[in-house]
């Protein structure tokens, strides 16, 4: 069957000049587009992708597994949106990429790992194909309460619920916040996927189902305020759920910790160490949350914070965004974004790489192993660092 490809913003795709500013950070020190850095073909850069989408809309190229790979290798890190020189048009770049992926979903021509990801979410409510009953296992032994009428819902998301690294981070954050007197509860086995990646990967129907179900459940339980472990979940709750009627106040856990530091609820003890911080894309570029994690680290006496060369809105993505954490379309290898990012962090001379996202944590831990440098730079989540400083 012949498909007439169509996307909502088809009428402006031709406006990309492919000048290449989108490949770089603001000072041009290296390529800052994760998929371009990994693959090295112009087709994998934002400009290349944009030109190919136009060719595809015009019928000059066909839908193919390679075209799908090019689209799905995008890490949705928003660097292109940050750096494109065309005002207003730049804001639509991520949407155009998402729309093209949505069109592939509708045509049923998506890469197998993406299909499997969607299926797992649809069937199991999580990408790990694990039973929903196991979703709350991460909290066993922590004493964290099920959400009833607490001030905050602590939403941990799929990675925090099922992945070993994510579970550890979820425990650190949950325990720390509770110990600091935050009134919070968790959903445990009742929690389901937030759908951020489902949406970015173009399965907007499935995303709507997930979002509506979450909103329904949150409302039913009387949730007003949400603390997320994962910046990806925070992004969906803050940016996409309101379009479906959600009115919750949403915070990333680093925002809460920074607030507690402001209020002097946290009084860390001296912790002599050198730390660098990796800005997660969904915390930083997508939601402009740069200061809270730094405020937390700087509040610890004796802790020296050194910045990675590319930081804040110039930060280089770990490569896990855009569903690549699950689909691994960007792939491994020396030029994989996570390994590039880990080496960049290593260059700071820090002893600890602080992370604020369970997906980044996992990506960077794997990268450290691949580089054989786990002992040179320890990856710790923000809560873990604060806990350590409090226990000194």
């Amino acid at each position: 069957m012949e498909w007439a490809h169509q996307i909502e913003h088809a009428d402006i795709v031709h406006r990309c000049f492919r000048c290449g500013y989108c490949k770089f950070p603001s000072d041009y020190v290296d390529f800052n587009c994760p998929s371009y850095k990994a693959f090295g073909w112009d087709t994998y850069s934002p400009g290349g992708r944009m030109w190919l989408i136009r060719a595809w809309l015009n019928g000059e190229i066909e839908t193919s597994p390679h075209f799908a790979e090019i689209l799905y290798s995008c890490a949705a890190c928003d660097n292109c949106k940050e750096q494109c020189v065309f005002p207003r048009f730049k804001d639509l770049l991520p949407e155009i990429f998402q729309e093209a992926k949505e069109a592939l979903v509708n045509e049923g021509k998506i890469p197998p790992p993406v299909r499997d990801y969607f299926k797992a979410i649809a069937v199991n409510g999580n990408p790990y194909k694990l039973p929903g009953e196991e979703r709350g296992k991460w909290a066993e032994g922590t004493g964290l309460q099920h959400f009833s009428d607490q001030e905050y819902l602590f939403y941990v998301g799929c990675v925090g619920s099922y992945d070993e690294v994510g579970q550890k981070m979820a425990r650190h954050v949950g325990i720390l916040l509770r110990d600091l007197g935050i009134s919070l509860g968790i959903l445990g086995s009742e929690e389901t996927c937030d759908g951020n990646e489902v949406n970015v990967l173009g399965e907007t129907g499935l995303f709507a189902n997930l979002a509506e179900e979450n909103i329904r459940q949150f409302l039913e339980k009387g949730v007003n305020k949400i603390i997320t472990l994962d910046p990806h979940a925070m992004n969906a709750f803050k940016r996409d759920y309101p379009e479906l009627g959600a009115t919750f106040q949403v915070f990333h856990f680093t925002e809460i910790l920074a607030k507690l530091i402001n209020e002097k609820t946290i009084a860390p003890l001296e912790y002599r160490t050198k730390v660098t911080f990796h800005d997660p894309c969904y915390l930083g570029r997508h939601n402009q949350i740069y200061t809270p994690p730094r405020k937390i680290l700087k509040s610890i006496p004796g802790l020296e914070l050194v910045e990675i060369r590319r930081n804040r809105d110039d930060a280089f993505c770990c490569g896990g965004g855009g569903g690549n954490f699950f689909t691994d379309i960007i792939g491994q290898g020396e030029d994989s974004p996570a390994r590039v990012r880990f080496r960049e962090a290593l260059d700071t001379g820090a002893s600890i790489l602080a992370v604020a996202c369970p997906q980044c944590a996992k990506m960077l831990i794997d990268a450290a192993k691949a580089e054989g440098k786990e002992d040179n730079l320890k990856i710790m989540d923000m809560a873990e660092i604060v806990m350590k400083a409090r226990s000194k």
């Binding site: 402006i12 031709h14 406006r15 990309c16 000049f17 492919r18 000048c19 290449g20 500013y21 490949k23 770089f24 000072d27 041009y28 020190v29 290296d30 390529f31 693959f39 090295g40 073909w41 112009d42 087709t43 290349g48 030109w51 190919l52 060719a55 000059e60 190229i61 066909e62 193919s64 390679h66 075209f67 090019i70 020189v85 065309f86 005002p87 048009f89 060369r309 290898g333």
Partner: protein, 459 residues
């Protein structure tokens, strides 16, 4: 799988070779208005030796080779006019060496302007190179291969004049070093006191070899930069103003621009004067010298300095991101220009021609000229923005630029980075003995005619 594809895989590896419709489509074109042509393969090597092996294979199989940086010449110089293998150089993106005291850098053949700029800022903040206003993804090797210009061209000449040595893979596969690196480890001179072999490659648009390493002069990066904008509505005075300014021998860069939109700029000729210093005193001294140099035009009320306000930051930015944004003025993502190298005294005639062409072809123009080497010449850009979705407009741009090149040649100018049609126009007017020499050089270096064929082809 074809034997050639297999051979390329053997040389470069799986992630460095492609013949998929997507890569072939993309690498068949540049952002300009010329018709695309598909390559047969695209490769992205990481080493000089890989390039050497690809060229040896291409010689054996008589396959065209087209080297590509970021494809930003806009004049189709990376379009594989006769198919073959496009070599994307951008994976060779390292700064290999900086000799601080001798003020030169050595970079790989795919190193971008942006990467060198950032590297110098990080490690040698008191040094800089002549950064073009083209996007930072453009490569240094491509820029010198087409006699590009940059921020320091007013002071030191074309960026190709700043080359201090080359490593080239010849069309027959030999790796050859040009200048001082041919005799020792230092990259301080591309020729003196040797015969200048760099001329066999600079300006040849990739038709005589592939530049795999470039030595490039660096210059003092002064602590401060400033800018003044001198404006006149009398086009005939521009060359005289420039003569006075270049006499100062102290300016970083001088650009002259005019455009009809927005209306605040209409009918005025804007001379942007850049200058640098290490102290406020030096800056103020130079500012006074600039004002003194053009005082007579102020006295006669023919010209004056314009308050910069919000524009100052934009003008001082390097590279100037706003220049790329011009492409989207007709909401169409397209921009192309003809940039003949010519005498400054012809500024009024060129300015009139731009306006005439824009009117005739119903196009939006913006023109900018850059003074070269203290006023020995200028690059006069005849620039048109276009809507990429409007094929009729693209055709009009093509025709307007072709007419601009005819005009430039009539005026004794030299087309800069000419497309293959403009090259033919140029060769037709060239002194026959010069043309013959060009042909001899090309045939000697590239006996099989595999290097970027369709370009600088005498016969």
């Amino acid at each position: 799988m074809s034997d050639i594809f297999k051979s390329l895989l053997g040389i470069i590896g799986e992630r460095g070779v492609s013949n998929t419709p997507e890569e072939l489509w993309f690498y068949s074109r540049d952002p300009g208005v010329l018709t695309p042509h598909l390559p047969d393969f695209v490769v992205a090597p990481k080493t000089t030796e890989q390039i050497q092996k690809v060229i040896q294979l291409a010689n054996q199989e008589k396959i065209p080779i087209v080297p590509m940086g970021n494809g930003m010449a806009l004049t189709g110089l990376v379009i594989p006019l006769k198919g073959g293998i496009v070599i994307d150089m951008k994976r060779m993106n390292r700064v290999l060496e900086v000799n601080e005291k001798a003020r030169y850098a050595v970079v790989e053949g795919g190193t971008s302007q942006g990467v060198l700029k950032a590297f110098l800022q990080d490690h040698f903040p008191h040094l800089r190179h002549s950064l073009p206003d083209a996007p930072p993804a453009t490569t240094i090797a491509a820029n010198v291969a087409l006699h590009g210009q940059g921020r320091l061209t007013q002071q030191y000449g074309f960026n190709s004049d700043m080359v201090t040595g080359l490593e080239v893979v010849l069309p027959t596969g030999e790796i050859c070093r040009i200048g001082s690196p041919s005799l020792g480890p230092y990259w301080f001179s591309k020729s003196p006191s040797l015969p200048d072999l760099s001329g066999l490659f600079l300006g040849w648009l990739g038709t005589t070899g592939i530049l795999t390493k470039v030595g490039l002069k660096l210059y003092p990066n002064k602590k401060m930069r400033d800018v003044e904008l001198f404006v006149t509505d009398r086009v005939e005075l521009v060359s005289e103003i420039l003569y006075k300014l270049t006499h100062l021998e102290m300016l970083e860069d001088i650009n002259i621009w005019f455009q009809p939109m927005p209306l605040v700029f209409k009918d005025n000729y804007h001379i942007t004067i850049y200058f640098t210093g290490d102290t406020e005193e030096e800056i103020e001294f130079k500012r006074k010298m600039i004002w003194d140099a053009v005082q007579e035009f102020i006295d006669t009320k023919d010209a004056g300095f314009m308050g910069l306000g919000y524009m100052k930051g934009t003008l001082l930015e390097t590279p100037q991101r706003s220049l790329a944004a011009f492409a989207d003025v007709p909401k169409g993502g397209g921009f192309e220009y003809s940039g003949p190298i010519t005498l400054i005294e012809f500024f009024p005639q060129y300015a009139a021609k731009v306006i005439e062409l824009a009117k005739k072809y119903q196009l939006l123009y913006a023109s900018s000229a850059r003074v070269i080497s203290g006023g020995h010449s200028m690059m006069f850009s005849i620039s048109f923005a276009f809507n990429r979705a409007d094929s009729a407009m693209m055709t009009r741009v093509k025709e307007a630029l072709s007419e601009a090149t005819e005009f430039a040649l009539d005026m004794g100018g030299l087309p800069w980075k000419p497309n293959f049609v403009e090259q033919k126009m140029t060769l037709e007017r060239m002194d026959p003995n010069t043309r013959k020499l060009l042909e001899m050089v090309k045939k000697t270096l590239d006996p099989q005619g595999i290097m970027n064929p369709g370009n600088w082809e005498v016969s």
